[in-house]
Symmetry: C2
């Protein structure tokens, strides 16, 4: 069986690798640029469902399942590729600077501990003991010891090596349209060349609504710009993911600190703006004032695939022969292992280990 995957981002690459694990499928990834050229490499790489979630539900469950799968997935990927993906079990602190934010943290900790997750409110001396460089003006923080990080750029390089070694084929170019026969998708027109496939997996992130013939409504997968910044410290000052109402900082082991992120509906504009950068800097300096002297090494922006209900599209697409793995918004890196597993199950016609109904394309007909 031949499978074509459209998009060489975190989703396309993870799925392609998964589909080649048993070795029986022919898998080709189509990518306009190079693997990880867009949002996947722009991400900070937080594996942090407890940070991200505002309520329990199918999305939170999916994120938790994927977080659980991460350590083994990272280790296997590292073994297959020989590339260290920077998986770091660092924990995270969500920091409150106002009384209202403290109350919101209380509520979040309550529902998260109720479903069995580890989460604890830290104040004063406890907080200072965990992260002494955190702004002393912080009133409290929720400690999420199970939210971790990976380095998305290393991850994409590891995936490229592992997928290639596993026998995934790669083609560069822009998909002009899907090819169909009697209403069923049977392949892809790649810049004029027809490639045949038994199944096509659309994993084009924010660009998923632009593939002609896919019948994915562009209004249902929209780009949301996230501006990012990398600072460099002489040596690490803190070890946990730190997040406030204004942004977050992700400390790498080498003293680099990623700062994110804006959420802007500005179409496919990937510019870094004065205002965006200004907000990132304010967020970073509020969290860790000593970042003031850190060097700016890089700025960039990525386009996350947003959906109205902020649930991804997983599995059956709008047309027979077409599967979707897109719309992961802020959680693409986190959701890679579970998405790859689920799409593998759908492709092999196994029963998905997660109920995919909340993630169907047709959920809002």
């Amino acid at each position: 069986m031949k499978v074509i995957v459209i998009g060489g981002g975190i989703m396309g690459m993870s799925i392609a690798l998964e589909l080649r694990r048993a070795g029986e499928l022919e898998v080709t990834v189509l990518e306009r640029s190079i693997p990880g050229a867009e949002a996947s490499s722009a991400a900070a790489g937080m594996l942090a469902p407890q940070f991200e979630a505002s309520a329990p539900g199918p999305m939170m469950d999916l994120c938790l399942l994927s977080r659980m799968a991460w350590p083994k997935w990272a280790a296997e990927l590292q073994e297959r590729s020989g590339v260290d993906v920077g998986y770091l079990p660092c924990g995270g602190l969500q920091v409150a600077f106002t009384e209202d934010e403290v109350h919101a943290l209380d509520a979040k900790i309550a529902w998260q501990t109720a479903v069995g997750l580890r989460a604890e409110l830290l104040t004063g001396a406890e907080l200072n003991a965990r992260e002494p460089r955190l702004n002393p003006k912080a009133l409290a923080a929720a400690d999420f010891p199970d939210d971790h990080q990976v380095d998305p750029r290393k991850l994409m390089r590891a995936l490229a090596v592992a997928a290639s070694r596993a026998g995934v084929s790669f083609r560069s170019g822009t998909v002009r349209s899907l090819v169909e026969k009697d209403g069923t998708v049977t392949g892809v027109d790649l810049e004029g060349e027809r490639l045949e496939a038994d199944l096509v997996v659309l994993a084009a992130g924010a660009w998923s609504g632009l593939v002609a013939g896919a019948q994915v409504d562009p209004a249902r997968v929209k780009p949301v710009r996230g501006q990012m910044m990398e600072l460099q410290l002489r040596a690490p000052l803190f070890s946990r993911l730190l997040k406030s109402a204004n942004g977050y900082v992700v400390p790498r082991a080498d003293g680099a600190v990623l700062v994110g992120s804006t959420m802007e509906m500005v179409g496919f504009d990937k510019n870094v703006t004065a205002e965006g950068l200004s907000r990132l800097l304010a967020a970073a300096l509020q969290l860790v004032p000593e970042l003031a002297s850190a060097s700016l090494t890089s700025t960039w922006a990525g386009l996350r695939p947003w959906t109205d209900d902020q649930l991804p599209f997983l599995g059956e697409g709008p047309r027979p022969g077409l599967l979707l793995a897109t719309g992961h918004f802020r959680n693409g890196i986190l959701l890679a292992p579970i998405t790859a597993r689920l799409l593998g199950q759908v492709v092999r016609r196994e029963k998905p280990s997660v109920d995919l109904r909340p993630f169907r394309y047709r959920r809002n007909p």
Copy 2:
């Protein structure tokens, strides 16, 4: 007569070109990197003595003479090189956001108009009429219609072409030391090679105190870091130099906006920092709120040569055979035409057209 110029920045290049105008001198410029690699290209290019000066005096007079020389100098340079140096008679507004700042502007306008300069306080509707995109929270601004701008990167390219065409020789490399005979400087050791000269002109900016044998005290020429940022607008929103207590913005004709600048004594560290950038962004957004959506295109830092009394060293150096043209701090681009003229006069043993006593190296023995 052979002259060696140490430093291919704005000073060294302007002087070298001046010395070749009559064609009788042999002139060699020594530069570690490429012409304009350091502070000269990092500058914003404001030709703005009225902005910069806090009081009348020999420095203000020197700056005004140089500003006066700029239009003709720029035109000649353009003619000799074929390169447009971006000389733009744009005028400048120094903007007050507090009552104290308004009073300071009043005082500045008073002493400047007393010496015959054009300067006027604008408020409310007048201000809005001049620059409608200026923050409406501005209380007042001093209008300096004779403060202008040039593009320092274009300027350095023009100087490189013009100097080369005029017969200036160039050598790449690091000066190991000056060569002397009986206490008089007779040449330069360029990475082991001895180059002879009748006169050596030291124009190495912030690095001038590091040239072995020059006897320039490193404590008297210190690097002061200036962090800079370039934003890009789709189209220009304002046309004048705008300056506040927190920084300045320089609008190029093509919609680029330069934002400057910090003043930091951090040695030869050229990093751009979180705090520095944060200040620049705050200054820019305070002056022109609509810059919020401008794209960040570049960040950098330069090292300005600072002197204790903030007067440059011009003419006779600490040793016979050695001339100085350094320590111009924030006014290097502005002071290029007058510095070149004066050094030309000193080299040719003519009477300098400006009294050089305030600018002698030996002024603080």
